[in-house]
Amino acid sequence: MVYIIRVIFIVCVSLLVSCSQGQTEKESQLALMKTTNPNPTVTENNSDQDNVERIEREVESIDEIYDVAVVKGKEATLIVYKVKHMQRFRMKQIEKDLNKKLEEKYPNEQFTVSSDYKIFLEAVRLVERKDNGNLSDKQAEKRLNEIVKMTSAMK
């Protein structure tokens, strides 16, 4: 009996250990456990970096929200955020308010807003790979559109 429990324990541990190997991106590994606050990013270097940073500050100024990732592509702008633990009961309301606020201030932008961990993780990964120079502008744009598609599929 003890033997069986031990075997199961070892299997579980080795599963967990093997998961955390072969990772090149250091930051995104822990993106779900701690505050990452990735740099606001645009897929094309020339375009409006200032604008993106302003959006990020705007989103961060909301009390219930911490840890924001903003990625702007040619058309879509992806905004992913985490909600403070006890405020998660009001997630839908927060998303609604945020959408409204953004639409009022930036009527010309196409926003995709999400608080999903998976989208957050992918956004962080995208930013990280872009910052490391592993991703060209074109690839980044493509990946961004994939993530946006994933988000809309959820709704």
Partner: protein, 158 residues
């Protein structure tokens, strides 16, 4: 309970009072604490598995539920087969019965138990003898709640 008491003869009532004195009570507080921790631990494992699927597969937070539940039920199947889960259940009580692993255990233990009566009448016929009512009343209450929500939506309350 009150109507039940009335039907009993005075002799029966007197004996039951005497018997109550000797009866060992369930240690409710201790059971609650144990259930809290073991149940919580099972949920931590479940959370770890769902993070695993989010990190390494294309599951979003909303779609990760299905593979996580499948994995947890698979794990509880292994534990049931190895004879660990019933001991865990005796220790943890509701802590191991309420999570989906407890549901898996109820199905799988019945399937193992009735294997000797063959696959059709034994396993097939008895597999859901414990879990069947959970499924029935789960589906039924989901139906009722959905009905209420739909009606409220139609009347414009929601």
């Amino acid at each position: 309970m009150a109507s039940k008491q009335k039907k009993m003869t005075p002799q029966q009532q007197k004996y039951q009072q005497l018997q109550q004195k000797h009866e060992l009570k369930r240690p409710v507080l201790k059971n609650c604490i144990k259930a809290f921790f073991v149940g919580g631990l099972i949920c931590v494992v479940g959370q770890a598995i769902s993070y695993f699927y989010i990190y390494y597969f294309d599951f979003t937070e909303q779609s990760v539920g299905n593979p996580t539940v499948a994995t947890m039920v698979f794990l509880s199947m292994l534990l049931t087969g190895f004879g660990v889960y019933d001991r865990l259940g005796q220790f943890a009580g509701a802590g191991s019965a309420v999570p989906v692993t407890g549901f898996g255990n109820a199905v799988i233990s019945a399937a193992i138990e009735h294997r000797t009566e063959g696959f059709v009448l034994g396993v097939g016929g008895n597999m859901f003898k414990l879990a069947g009512s959970v499924i029935l009343f789960g589906v039924f209450s989901a139906f009722v709640v959905a009905l209420i929500k739909t009606l409220l939506g139609m009347w414009g309350v929601l």
